[in-house]
Symmetry: C2
Subunit: 110 residues, 2 copies
DNA sequence: TCATCCCCTTACTTTTTAGTAAGTGCATTA
DNA sequence: TAATGCACTTACTAAAAAGTAAGGGGATGA
C-alpha cells in the first residue's frame, strides 16, 4: 500500500514552507496568540496571508484554533500537542540555518 | 552587526526548497553523479530545472561541480564536505515528514 | 449617529517558480 | 554525410504563491 505522496523532506518543507509560517510557529511556541497579536508581532504580514497560513497549519494539525463566542470575536491560536513535535526539528533546522547565514554573510572570504 | 537577513529556518527552507532539490541531494549522498545520471534518476525533472537547481546548490556551497575538459563534455556533481552537514538535518526532517505522511494518509480517522 | 474593535474573506494584481520546446558546440560513430 | 551523445542555455508559457485593497457583521463607546 503506497500512501506516501512525496519525499518526506518535501512534506516537511511543504508544511513549514509558507513565507510566514516559521514566524507564526515561533511566536506560538511561546504562548497562544490571537489573530491581532500575530499581526502585531509579524509586522509585514497581510491579513490574507496570516489567515491563509493559519488555516494551512490548522489543516495539518499543527495549530489549534479556539473560538470564543463573543462579540467582538475572540479567537485563539496555539501550537497543538502534535505541533510541538515540530519544535526539535525546527531547532535542528535553525542551527544549520544560523551557521549558513554566518557563512554567507560573515565569512565570505573563507 | 546584523548580518542575519532572515529567520534561520527560512534559510534552510530556501536552500532545500526547490521542487527537485531534496531528490538531487538524496542521489548525491550515495555518490557523485553526472548531469545525465541525475536526469535518469529523477525522471520528471526538466534539464532547465535540473541545471538551475544544481547551480543554486553550487552557489550555496552544497554541491561541488567538477568539469573534465573532454569531448563530449564530462561534468560531475558531488556533495561537498559542507553539503554533508545537511545530511543529519535532512534525516531529522525526513523522520518527521514520514510520520506526518503516515498520519495524513494512513490514519485519517484518528 | 458614527466610528471602533475583532477576525476575517473576496477579488484582483504582481511576483516567483516551474514547465515546454528548441537550439548550441564539437567529436565520435554509423 | 548525417545522426548521436553530453551538458547545457534561452525564450516563452503556465501555474503557484504572495501582495493590495476593500468589505462585512454586530456590539460597544464617544
Amino acid at each position: 500500500m503506497i500512501h506516501q505522496r512525496e519525499c518526506p523532506v518535501e512534506t516537511l518543507i511543504h508544511v513549514l514552507g509558507g513565507k510566514w509560517k516559521p514566524m507564526i510557529l515561533w511566536h506560538l511556541i511561546e504562548s497562544k496568540k490571537r489573530f491581532n497579536d500575530l499581526e502585531k508581532l509579524i509586522p509585514d504580514v497581510s491579513q490574507k496571508m496570516l489567515s491563509q497560513h493559519l488555516r494551512d497549519l490548522e489543516r495539518e494539525g499543527i495549530v489549534d484554533r479556539t473560538v470564543y463566542p463573543a462579540i467582538p470575536p475572540k479567537v485563539e491560536y496555539s501550537l497543538s500537542e502534535y505541533g510541538r513535535t515540530l519544535i526539535p526539528v525546527a531547532e535542528v533546522m535553525c542551527v544549520w540555518g544560523e551557521n549558513h547565514n554566518k557563512r554567507k554573510y560573515e565569512e565570505p572570504a573563507s
